[in-house]
């Protein structure tokens, strides 16, 4: 029977990566000297599973490497060796190394074993494994037994043999497969029927086996019952050993040398790349995984919902076949309500499959921060907040790298050294905080540090040197901070290997913008800086408020609506040339006329006859002037970029129930578009409020 093992590879890789993540997380929790057994056990199990799987599926480079790892862990687990900080560091490096090896194998590339071999040597030094000893072991593998021999085998099971689940009959037939077998059974030990226990074994046997196999093959058959039986195997003169059988020996000889020399070959090959002959594939390994693991409960609930949907459909089609009366219309309506309910449930659950908690990204940072802070000799505490905030899987995969870059920057440039912090009267331990939360239809990720803040003087100098701005330009701090996102900008005096690897903040911003997101920085000298990433929840089905502007229907994301009201004309004042501001309780709300922004004729222009929808974005409220509020409904966002082109002030489009296309209003885009706020600052609106107070 041939079984293609490759069908299990994907599952193996996936669970191995999960195992490595678990190992890493547990290792980071380990404090040498106070380790608890369960943590060590979890790490051991992960290594053990990877070793077992990789061996089984033929990834010898991985299993050989994991073997030394496992041995060390086993010794620690058994209390034979004390865990040291060096062990933890080495194990963490091995996790990285294994991850690389597995990624390479997954992409079917020739693995780079340099790192693995170097690490392995270190492990072996710790374990005291002598290479020479290993070699010796290989050499002592017994040479093949070539000639036919006859063995006398006495097999006397102990009474309890059956209770181990072993079956002498099967062993005898296995023996028979090795060669010519003659069997004698002894029943002299069987007691009287009164004393006979049916669970016990009272029989014993003597075999004469004429075989080309050596004694070890026979031992193997009895391997499981060695302690449950008296077994003697002896080479004897020649019950069958006549000249005829000797002649057949050469046939056997040809096979044996191959099979017995095989282990040595495997051991040599294991040190070299396993797929020596195959060409390296040019394609880069796919960083984004193409499969998703979904809890069985989620799938079950989906199936359940589909079941209900089918029932509702059956009910509706039954109604459809009836004659239309008052009663059928009532039940039709009921059925449709049911259908709407089911569809919505189904939709929400399907979406939830793609949503994962952001802890999947956050979880890699404890390690990163530990390694980098060690390298930089800084003391850093990492705080993770909002780890359960859910985010679409695709977005999550793409946001990881920009975040790593930002955190690196915070550690390298943001946080000061212990001495500097003490001199500045700060806690010697710096803090980096990662925070995630939902705001409006967005997810917001903040990366905060309590370091020195951006050095505006240095940034400007650098920008001038690079010709990005001129010395004469009057720039405020926010404008200077914005400069770090300009292409080709790096403030590090020397390019360190932590940040500044030639990838600048401009790339970070570009990556985030390609996800339809934005990144901003705010900073205060001596206090710290905060990078704020805003990302859409994409794929989104959006809860929308349909509004009418002239003859057109627009959609405002329901989540950004604060309130809708009729305008009290007495509370409206004009600021500057053409901006109306409504005084609403203690706030001033700028009024944006959607009809003028989108260039529609025929809308109601008098303020007191229209409706104002107050919306909030980026902590800023604005009022949108609309003719009418229509219904609220869920809409599927269709990308305008993909189907047409990017339109400022519009985040997407959707198709309404009657087939018409309707545009979805992008609130923060509108704010930018209308010039109410310069990107990255909230100055202007505050200014206008100040003006108003003055007037």
């Amino acid at each position: 029977m041939s079984i293609d093992l490759s069908q299990f590879f994907e599952v193996f890789f996936e669970e191995s990566f999960e195992g490595l993540d678990a190992m890493e997380a547990e290792l980071l929790n380990l404090v040498p000297g106070e380790e608890d057994l369960e943590t060590i056990n979890t790490i051991f199990r992960a290594a053990h599973s990877i070793k077992g799987g990789s061996g089984t599926f033929g990834f010898n480079s991985v299993s050989d490497f994991t073997h030394v790892l496992e041995t060390l862990l086993d010794q620690i687990r058994e209390g034979k060796r004390e865990l040291t900080a060096e062990h933890v560091n080495l194990l963490l490096k091995s996790v990285d190394c294994l991850r690389e090896l597995l990624r390479g194998l997954q992409a079917e590339q020739e693995p780079n074993l340099e790192e693995a071999i170097a690490l392995r040597i270190k492990f072996e030094q710790i374990l005291g494994v002598n290479q020479a000893e290993q070699n010796k072991l290989e050499v002592t593998a017994s040479p093949a037994q070539l000639a036919l021999n006859t063995y006398q085998i006495d097999f006397k099971p102990h009474h309890h043999l059956f209770k181990t689940g072993n079956e002498p009959l099967y062993m005898i037939s296995e023996l028979a497969e090795l060669g010519d077998l003659e069997t004698q059974a002894f029943n002299n030990e069987i007691p009287d029927i009164a004393d006979l226990s049916p669970d016990d074994c009272f029989l014993s046997w003597r075999f004469f086996l004429n075989t080309a196999k050596d004694e070890s093959a026979i031992r193997e058959i009895f391997e499981w019952v060695e302690d449950d039986a008296d077994i003697t195997i002896a080479l004897c003169g020649g019950l069958f050993a006549d000249d005829d059988t000797q002649i057949t020996a050469p046939d056997v000889i040809e096979e044996n040398p191959n099979s017995t020399s095989a282990p040595a070959v495997v051991n040599v090959a294991a040190v070299k790349p396993i797929k020596k002959g195959t060409a390296v594939k040019a394609s880069t390994p796919a960083a984004e995984s193409t499969s998703i693991r979904v809890g069985i409960d989620k799938v079950d609930s989906l199936i359940n919902m589909v079941g209900e949907l089918v029932i509702t459909q059956a009910m509706l089609s039954q109604i459809g076949q009836q004659e239309i009366t008052e009663a059928t219309i009532a039940s039709l309506q009921e059925g449709l309500a049911q259908l709407a309910h089911n569809t919505r449930d189904l939709q929400e659950n399907v979406m939830r499959i793609r949503m994962l908690p952001i802890s999947f990204v956050f979880s890699r940072f404890p390690r990163l921060v530990r390694d980098i802070s060690q390298k930089l000799n800084k003391q850093v505490e990492l705080k993770l907040l909002g780890e359960q905030t859910e985010l679409d899987k695709t977005v999550m995969e793409k946001i990881s790298d920009p975040m790593v870059h930002l955190v690196r920057n915070s550690l390298d440039h943001g946080l000061e050294t212990v001495e500097q912090r003490l001199a500045a009267g700060k806690d010697p331990v710096g803090t980096v905080t990662l925070n995630a939360f939902h705001q409006g239809g967005n997810i917001v990720i903040e990366i905060m540090d309590d370091g020195q803040g951006l050095n505006t003087v240095k940034i400007k100098q650098k920008a001038v040197a690079n010709g990005l701005v001129s010395e004469a330009d009057e720039l405020d701090d926010d404008e200077i901070n914005e400069l770090i996102f300009m292409p080709g900008f790096s403030t590090a005096d020397e390019v360190s290997d932590i940040s500044g690897r030639g990838v600048g903040m401009d790339v970070v911003r570009r990556n985030i913008q390609s996800l339809n997101g934005s990144v901003e920085v705010s900073s205060a000298a001596g206090v710290g800086s905060t990078f704020t990433i805003r990302l859409p929840l994409t794929l989104a089905i959006l809860d929308g408020q349909l509004v009418r502007v002239a003859k057109h229907t627009y959609i405002i994301p329901l989540i950004s609506i604060v309130e809708s009201l009729q305008i009290d004309i007495n509370k409206v004042s004009r600021v500057g040339k053409d901006l109306d501001v409504l005084r609403l309780r203690d706030e001033y709300i700028p009024i944006l006329r959607l009809y003028s922004i989108f260039n529609h004729q025929g809308a109601i222009e008098t303020l007191d006859k229209t409706l104002l929808v107050v919306v909030e974005s980026d902590n800023q409220k604005i009022g949108l002037l609309v003719d009418d509020l229509l219904s609220q409904q869920q809409v599927v966002i269709k990308s305008l970029e993909a189907n047409y082109q990017k339109v400022d002030g519009v985040s997407g489009a959707t198709i309404l129930g009657d087939g018409r296309v309707s545009l979805i209003v992008d609130i923060s885009g509108l704010i930018k578009l209308s010039g109410l706020r310069k990107p990255g600052s909230q100055e202007l609106i505050i200014e206008s409020q100040a003006n108003l107070e003055a007037s």
Partner: protein, 120 residues
């Protein structure tokens, strides 16, 4: 059809074992740890149990010890999957009532060959 319970916390190993056995004509039930296996084993009968040793919640040795105390599993072959480095595990397993062991790594053919020792 002979029924086998395959227990392993690693999904890929479990799938491999299960797939191999199914192809060889066995009826296979899977469990992801000792505890799950034990409760399945109590509800249904099996002709053999193949279990990994290192598993969360309940390890293979404990599973075998528990199974062996059940009247239905008094004579049932209970095999453990182990690595060559776990020689002391074999002894421990035998003491707990294991019938034998299968050394990892193994390929499907080896698995079936070993299984022939106890179930035909």
């Amino acid at each position: 059809m002979k029924r086998i319970l395959a227990v392993d916390d690693s999904a890929s190993m479990r799938q491999m074992v299960s797939f191999t056995l199914k192809k060889a004509g066995f009826d296979v039930t899977e469990a992801k740890d000792g505890s799950e296996a034990l409760s399945i084993a109590k509800q249904q009968g099996f002709d053999a149990v193949i279990s990994d040793v290192n598993m969360p919640v309940m390890d293979g040795i404990t599973l075998i010890r528990e199974l062996r105390t059940l009247p239905n599993y008094k004579f049932t072959p209970l095999l453990m999957l182990t690595t060559e480095s776990g020689m002391d595990k074999k002894v421990e397993g035998k003491a707990a009532g294991a019938t034998g062991w299968i050394v990892k790594p193994f390929n499907p053919e080896q698995l079936l060959a070993v299984l022939k020792k106890v179930i035909r």
